[in-house]
């Protein structure tokens, strides 16, 4: 069967022999389709599609010059040094990390409260459904509408713009994700577990600490990580709420992208992807997705 593919990185490293190989691959691909390898071809192409651009940018971040050209005429980590000593970039990274950390922890706390309300709250059904619907608003309302709405409200109420509003906006943005992540785990917990704890002498807080919390733990960790990633990468709401004083990493990158593509930007991009990739890897090692 001919659906073996060479890794995408090989392509730009050796321009010679490329034609041969692509013809080979074309043959292989056709044969694979005929042999029922249609699925595998689709899957491999999808993977290549998702990762090729990232690989190319990573490759181009090694360029000695500030404007890389394919193929590179050398490789250096120099631009990573430049990025890490660039005060603007480092400050934006620090802002994003701090906002992300606060949002992750506080958002997970709020998500836990909301999840508890939705799944276990001793409240009328319509109240619980109402809370779920309200929390879910940012999932269904286009982000630009949410962002303009908050922007206009912040301006009109006199809340103004800056770090506070950005934090509030991020908390609001991650709330539905952390809520539904935790709620789906909460729903699998047997009611009887808490009742058993009460029956054996635990008061409300103790039962929560000794039974509910340990059982929710994986979901809480997943929520912290996902909320961090969401906040760390959030662009549009921040764009409307940051004002002139606050620059988060996505805003900084966006500003630079608008000016032009450079090796500096490539290196910065790779660093950013590595950070969020590491968070994702931590999450994946804790619990498989879905």
């Amino acid at each position: 069967m001919g659906e073996r593919r060479s890794p995408p990185t090989a392509e730009h490293e050796q321009p010679a022999g490329r034609i041969e190989r692509s013809v080979d691959r074309l043959h292989g691909g056709l044969a694979a389709v005929v042999n029922g390898g249609f699925f595998r071809v689709t899957v491999v192409s999808t993977a290549v599609f998702l990762y090729l651009p990232v690989v190319v940018v990573a490759y181009l971040s090694l360029s000695p010059g500030s404007q890389p050209s394919i193929p590179l005429d050398g490789a250096t980590l120099r631009w990573y040094g430049e990025v890490l000593t660039d005060t603007r970039f480092v400050r934006s990274l620090a802002t994003s990390t701090a906002v992300g950390a606060v949002t992750a922890v506080a958002g997970t706390g709020l998500g836990l409260l909301a999840a508890r309300t939705i799944v276990r709250g001793r409240l009328p059904g319509w109240v619980r459904a109402g809370v779920a619907m309200t929390v879910a608003i940012p999932l269904f309302v286009p982000t630009v509408v949410v962002a303009v709405g908050i922007g206009i409200a912040a301006g009109r109420v006199g809340l103004g713009f800056g770090l506070g509003p950005v934090l509030a906006g991020h908390l609001y943005w991650v709330l539905p994700f952390s809520t539904f992540l935790i709620a789906s785990r909460y729903a699998t917990l047997d009611d009887g577990l808490v009742e058993a704890a009460h029956d054996l002498g635990a008061d409300g807080p103790t039962a929560f600490r000794t039974v509910t919390l340990p059982l929710l733990w994986p979901a809480l960790v997943a929520s912290v990580l996902f909320a961090f990633a969401l906040s760390f990468n959030e662009f549009l709401i921040t764009f409307f709420l940051a004002g002139s004083g606050v620059t988060t990493m996505p805003l900084e990158i966006y500003g630079k992208v608008r000016i032009g593509a450079t090796t500096f930007l490539n290196a910065a991009s790779v660093l950013v992807l590595l950070i969020s990739g590491a968070v994702a890897a931590a999450a994946a090692s804790l619990e498989p997705p879905t």
Binding site: D190, G192, E195, A196, H198, L200, D203, T210, P214
Partner: protein, 357 residues
Amino acid sequence: MTSGSSQMTLRTDGLVKRFGDTTAVAGVSLAVEPGEFFAIVGPSGCGKTTTLRILAGLESPTAGEVELAGRDVTDRPPRDRETNLVFQDLVLFPHMTVAENVGYGLARDGVPEATRREQVEEMLETVGLSGFGDRDPASLSGGQRQRVALARALANEPSVLLLDEPLSSLDRTLRTEMRTELRRIQRDVGTTFLYVTHDQESALSMADRIAVMRDGRVVESGSPSTLYNRPRTAFVADFLGDANLLTATVQGRENGRVTVEAGGGRFDAAADTGVPDGSVTIVIRPEDLRPGGETLSGTVRSVSYKGAHEEYGVALDGGDSVRVRTRADGDVTVGATVGLDVLDASLVTEANTEDGE
């Protein structure tokens, strides 16, 4: 408060629980004595679990009172009650070891770690699980999990242990074995057991006293033998075992016994309740009908072999049909005519048995 109530470990008075339009419990009054093995039996949906949950404090009654050792605990939360519940589906804490499960109640009572470990080990020994302390509950067999649940509920020495059909998830052999075990453990620890089940066999074999429930009410209560041999209602007679219910007319009466005519014959029946005039219902257990007599006569319609004994369906000449249970001797055939003696019969009230199962 009634005098003598303090001798009762547990009393309830007119418990009512409504869920919207459903009345799950419709006025249950019970009195359980210290050290007693008390069983509540009744068909599915009759309100047993709800009653138990009210006693545990997990549900608050719409009306009525719960009294534990002479103290009104109706509005006390579960943790302030000296009752522990063994849940129908056990609900062991999945994130704790067996020992941590068993020690949970002790930890909540503030028992120091070292003492706790000792007590847990002792408790595990009582239920026959020494050495299982470090195991994960998920790695245990059904019977073992059952024992862990029991140990967990017993460890902090409740004055009443409430058990909600704890054996229903076990297979037959294990269930029989666990019944004996439960009885032994109850004698060993001396705790009052309030055992809820829809399985009359469990109740009859384990309990000191039984209350039979139906539609949210207690129909009858008493010792297993009294309820089995001298049921006062057709419902209890039918629920606690196989029963032949016959319509009879009272012919004569003398202290506690009546002479009745039923199924084409005339015989004596016990009558604990007031005897109405005219038509009554009597219960005869299948094993209380002995072939070879002449009180009743009829034709054998069916024979089924049940191992140690045989059962016949007999159409009486008087019109009714009865079941007869006797030692297997294999000389009865379908179509034969038999005469039957009535060894024991009792008069019961309310003939309605249609919602019996």
